[in-house]
Symmetry: C2
Subunit: 141 residues, 2 copies
DNA sequence: CTACATGCAAATGCTTTGCAACCTA
DNA sequence: TAGGTTGCAAAGCATTTGCATGTAG
């Protein structure tokens, strides 16, 4: 997979991939950077960004462009949807099978050539739900 | 609407709102800035950002957070979906009625409290479709 | 008049990039 | 050894913010 593209499996690249799998969450480049640094203290943020880009182009990981500023990454490359907490940014997989036929519904009624779609749910994660129910809207004391 | 929130209808704010309506597209803050500047040359980008933020909080316009970096704004505040050209960034409304019941499908199978969802189609706009069909994948000669 | 708004410029946050040294195949 | 890769630092964008001045109500 790497060799076909004239790419090398460096210690950094390997570690980034392994740790993304182990985390099981949907970390940002920066969160991943922190995690990887515990094993390779001298790795740079730039290297993390470069590798995440390369790995997602190879289809080894998935780049998520959800709402909110920061990009996140997913070890799971299959088609699936996500839920994002509008309060803290936590991202979970959404338990909903891909809507396979939805793109066909636009056929003939748009000038665009559709190639895909993205569905994202928003809401409050358990932690932030609590904070909202119990009285104050702002930070707790 | 404005007075209830102790806000004022300044020349800048009024113009931003009017021009966003007239454009009928889904401009970024910067595109809107260019358009508004033709009428008010001394307006600043910061003012455009500040007003777009305020107007979207008031529900007078809609802030779009689609894939790709830049945020876009929509004069149409109703619930609807969009199609984005992955090549040039053009954004159109998607001719598809809102999936009203889709959020219910997650009920009971997620720890999140769902408050909404966003569906975005990706593809090529007519202009970029042509460029892709006709031979070269990269820039044309 | 007075509080909200503006223009300007500096600052921020995330991501990308140039470059010399480094390391994998 | 060659060429992809790294660490570092600087650069790039989009967006936000501090502050003195301007202005709507």
């Amino acid at each position: 997979m790497l060799e076909k593209n004239n790419l090398r499996m460096t210690r950094q690249r390997k570690l980034i991939l392994e740790i993304l799998h182990k985390m099981g969450t949907h970390p940002s480049a920066d969160e991943l950077y922190d995690a990887v640094r515990m094993h390779l203290p001298r790795i740079s943020l730039g290297t993390v960004y470069r590798n995440l880009e390369i790995l997602s182009e190879l289809g080894q990981i998935q780049k998520l462009e959800l709402g909110g500023a920061t990009r996140r990454f997913d070890w799971d490359t299959s088609k699936h949807y996500h839920i994002r907490c509008v309060e803290c940014g936590r991202v979970d997989d959404a338990p909903l099978a891909p809507l396979q036929k939805i793109e066909n519904e636009l056929y003939g009624s748009t000038v665009f050539t559709i190639i895909g779609h993205r569905l994202e749910f928003t809401g409050f994660c358990p932690k932030c739900s609590l904070r909202h129910q119990s009285g104050s809207v702002s930070a707790s004391p």
